[in-house]
């Protein structure tokens, strides 16, 4: 059990890292893009905007913690 937990922790740390909110923001943005495409909107512009916002919020949190 401990090994499975360690294995899961390794991959979580490897891909998600120390800010799970940024990874969650990415997943939500991809989902919203897919929904807009389904609704007939070619939402190619959404991911760049969403990534910019997710990155800035993540940076602000990290900067606030390091102060």
């Amino acid at each position: 059990m401990r090994r499975i937990r360690a294995f899961g922790h390794f991959w979580w740390d490897f891909i998600v890292g120390d800010d799970w909110r940024a990874a969650a923001g990415v997943v939500i943005a991809i989902g919203v893009t897919a929904l807009l495409v389904e609704a007939g909107v070619d939402a190619w512009w959404l991911m760049p905007v969403a990534v910019g916002a997710v990155l800035w919020l993540s940076l602000r949190r990290a900067a606030a913690v390091s102060r």
């Binding site: 940024a22 990874a23 997943v27 897919a34 190619w44 910019g52 990155l55 900067a63």
Partner: protein
């Protein structure tokens, strides 16, 4: 254009990881025992080759749109970690990555560790080298597999990584020390930008949207990511000055 971008991205990302792996192998070899350190390097290389050989062909069975949405999402989550750390370093909110300092720390820990011999090897040197190369190499394998599979050209991504491996190994043998002159912090910034760019590009395509001009829009996405990254550095630097 996309092929060159793909090779360059895989090369840069792999070079950064290989420089870090070299530091660990050198610390274990110089401080403890070269044979054990190099055996660790070899064993980790075999495990990594097996992972790439198993996952690479398996990914080609997944439909390209599904693959791109998964790869794009993974690259974005992964790339944003790199970019975030690089921006925090560039703006002074995080200490710069210092290969000489890491080398000295690894050496001190290697000297302090007790002697344990298994299978005729210095077990500390073997495990230090094995774990270091495996962990850094996993990032290279992840990048090669994701970049290559999403573009349908694992060969090009592997070529970029292979060139980086040969270059770092040759320079490492010549220098016989950690590659402190490699501008790692700048390289990590560039890699974060490229991972994020490809992540945005492929996740958008995977979600079913179409970029204006298809692949020709990739430089535009790159320019956008560079702009927000440097903009964030400037804003955070200003915040630091205001706080001081």
């Amino acid at each position: 254009m996309t092929a060159g971008f793909l090779i360059a991205s895989a090369f840069l990302a792999s070079a950064v990881e290989f420089v870090e792996a070299l530091t660990i192998v050198l610390a274990a070899g110089i401080t403890r025992d070269w044979r054990s350190s190099l055996t660790g390097l070899g064993a980790a290389t075999i495990v990594l080759a097996a992972i790439v050989a198993a996952l690479g062909p398996a990914l080609t069975l997944i439909p390209i749109d599904v693959l791109r949405i998964i790869v794009g999402g993974l690259l974005l989550a992964f790339g944003l970690q790199w970019l975030r750390k690089a921006i925090l370093r560039a703006s002074g909110f995080k200490a710069l990555h210092d290969e000489a300092e890491i080398f000295a720390r690894e050496q001190a820990e290697a000297r302090a560790a007790g002697q344990e011999e298994r299978a005729g090897l210095d077990w500390y040197a073997f495990t230090l080298s094995f774990k270091g190369v495996l962990l850094e190499g996993l990032e290279v394998a992840f990048i090669v597999i994701t970049f290559g599979s999403a573009q349908g050209r694992i060969d090009l991504a592997a070529l970029g990584a292979g060139i980086a491996l040969v270059l770092v190994a040759v320079v490492g043998v010549v220098v016989r020390g950690p590659l402190t002159r490699v501008p790692e912090n700048s390289l990590k910034f560039a890699v974060g930008v490229m991972l994020t760019t490809f992540g945005i590009f492929w996740s958008t395509e995977g979600a079913g949207a179409h970029w204006p001009g298809d692949n020709a829009s990739l430089p535009g996405v790159l320019a956008f990511v560079v702009l927000i990254a440097f903009g964030a550095v400037a804003l955070l630097k200003r915040q630091r000055v205001a706080l001081a």
